[in-house]
């Protein structure tokens, strides 16, 4: 078998092996195999290779099943619970109505996400960061130095710290104490952009083909692209938002998901990541009703503890707006 023909012959043999060839090609390959001992050996080697690889995959998943696999019965039950209450193949009719809530939920999860990714990991970690700061800088409270900064939000800050639960604010700010740039968390605008792009592309991927991870970034919808970097006006007024939230029907089948979000929110911050993921999933699914509820949960349980730098607020608003445009453009 010469090198030139290898690819084609290899492919033909591989497809012959699995019975994928049409009648004409199959007969051709069989005719050739009759006359070519080397080709027969190649076919046998190929088949042996495929069997060994198959065994290897099976052994890999078997060896790691206990460690990595979920409980399949529960896994299935969870999917069934999420699908059984809905009609399959049905397009959501409600989409347009809740776009502003979806946008706000994105804002919420962005806020949480940024706080989280700034290094708000665990109470232990935050405490350690504070201790380190004290030891190195000799300051009694490194956060004091941050409060008077030009980019700080004194009103919200004062309220936060006056309240009973200022640990969250401390932890949100602790990482900044190591950063010389006043009031601007490292990388946050980039992250905001990336987050926005990620959410938008995730759905866009279903409309366009994503061939290979490297090219997938090019699938970003034009509307999201246009909104990049814009700090637009808020997507919806607070009054309107509250009104909409008050009218939500909370007895609908998403109760389970809502409950989960609620639980996560109740025990946050340690579970912030999960909470954030729920919100993101809800949005990814264009399940705007659930997203709105996620927002409501967030508002009730976490918003009072929020303390965002203005840069983040702006990035979040830009994100919310482009998401709203994106969602509104969907059928």
């Amino acid at each position: 078998m010469d090198d030139h023909a290898y690819d084609h012959v290899g492919e033909l043999l591989d497809r012959y092996r699995t019975g994928e060839l049409d009648e004409a090609d199959r007969l051709r390959v069989e005719g050739h195999l009759e006359a070519c001992p080397g080709c027969r050996r190649e076919l046998e080697a190929l088949a042996a290779f495929a069997r060994a690889v198959e065994r290897g995959y099976a052994a890999e998943s078997a060896a790691r099943a206990a460690e990595l696999e979920p409980d399949w019965a529960r896994f299935r039950a969870s999917i069934v619970a999420r699908t059984s209450a809905r009609a399959s193949g049905a397009r959501r009719a409600r989409l347009g109505r809740y776009v502003p809530q979806a946008a706000l939920a994105i804002l919420a999860l962005l806020a949480l996400g940024v706080l989280w990714e700034q290094g708000v990991r665990s109470p232990e970690e935050a405490d350690r960061a504070l201790r380190t700061e004290r030891a190195v800088g000799g300051r009694s409270d490194p956060l004091e130095d941050r409060r008077g900064g030009p980019a700080a939000t004194p009103g919200a800050d004062g309220k936060e710290r006056g309240g009973g639960d200022d640990r969250f604010a401390d932890r949100a700010r602790a990482p900044e104490t190591q950063e010389p740039t006043e009031g601007v968390p490292p990388e946050s605008p980039d992250r905001a952009n990336e987050r926005r792009r990620g959410v938008a592309v995730e759905d866009a991927g279903f409309r366009g083909d994503v061939d290979g991870a490297d090219r997938a970034g090019a699938e970003m919808p034009a509307e999201a692209e246009e909104n990049r970097g814009q700090a637009a006006a808020p997507a919806v007024g607070a009054e309107k938002r509250d009104e909409a939230l008050d009218h939500l029907d909370l007895d609908r089948p998403e109760a389970q998901a809502r409950e989960e979000v609620g639980k996560a929110a109740a025990v946050a911050p340690p579970d912030l990541e999960r909470f954030q993921r729920n919100a993101r999933n809800a949005l990814t699914e264009a399940d705007t009703l659930l997203a709105a509820r996620t927002l409501a949960q967030w508002r009730d349980s976490l918003a009072p503890r929020r303390d965002l730098p203005p840069e983040l607020e702006r990035a979040a608003r830009a994100l919310a707006d482009s998401l709203a445009v994106f969602l509104a453009s969907r059928p």
Partner: protein, 202 residues
């Protein structure tokens, strides 16, 4: 002597059966969806795990993909097996996860170090050779570029046809052929060099 085609994929039979199943589900028998979930959840989970490398994220992706697929069942092309379709839905999510991670500098797409070592053999009922084979497979796969690795996984772990792989990754069959040819060549050489398979060519 005429070699019999081995490992024949009952592609068309299964596609026909699934098309009928999907029709019933769309027509209102939603409870039958669990048949498809049962059939493919594990396979899809492992595929996603191989793509994203994180069990929690893979679980989430698979759950979401099944819910998403259910909602869009009307768009399902019955000439393909259901797996081809749901893989594609899950794959888009996996790629987005990877892209986010990569931009944040958390991981690179084809980082062989992401392939974790297998736990030490502790069960007597499993042949040692299989464990070695599995480890060699993990190591060798780690040397492939991501696109070739994916094609190879779909072919050999999931048993998809060339046509199905093309549909699953949204690429022409010619692309699938060249990716598979390159992946196969490297994998045969790599596994042979580790002494777990026979000579790469006749």
């Amino acid at each position: 002597m005429k070699p019999e085609p081995a490992g024949t994929i009952p592609e068309s039979d299964e596609a026909t059966e699934e098309a009928a199943l999907v029709r019933r589900i769309v027509a209102g028998e939603g409870h039958r969806y669990s048949v498809l979930v049962d059939r493919y959840q594990r396979r899809l989970y492992w595929s996603c795990l191989r793509l994203v490398g994180d069990p929690d994220e893979a679980e989430d992706v698979v759950q979401e993909a099944f819910v998403r697929a259910y909602e869009r069942l009307g768009d399902f092309d019955p000439s393909y097996r259901f797996y081809t379709w749901i893989y594609r839905i899950a794959r888009n999510r996996c790629l987005n996860l990877l892209r986010r991670r990569r931009v944040w500098g958390l991981v690179t797409l084809s980082d062989p170090e992401r392939a974790p070592a297998l736990p030490s053999a502790n069960r007597s009922d499993r042949p040692v050779e299989n464990r070695e084979l599995a480890q060699a497979l993990v190591d060798c796969r780690g040397t492939l570029p991501a696109d070739q690795r994916e094609a190879f996984d779909l072919r050999h772990a999931d048993g998809l046809s060339y046509r199905e792989i093309a549909a699953a990754i949204g690429a022409p069959e010619g692309t699938v052929m060249s990716r598979l040819a390159r992946a196969r060549e490297k994998m045969r050489a790599c596994l042979e060099s580790k002494g777990v398979t026979g000579p790469a060519s006749a």
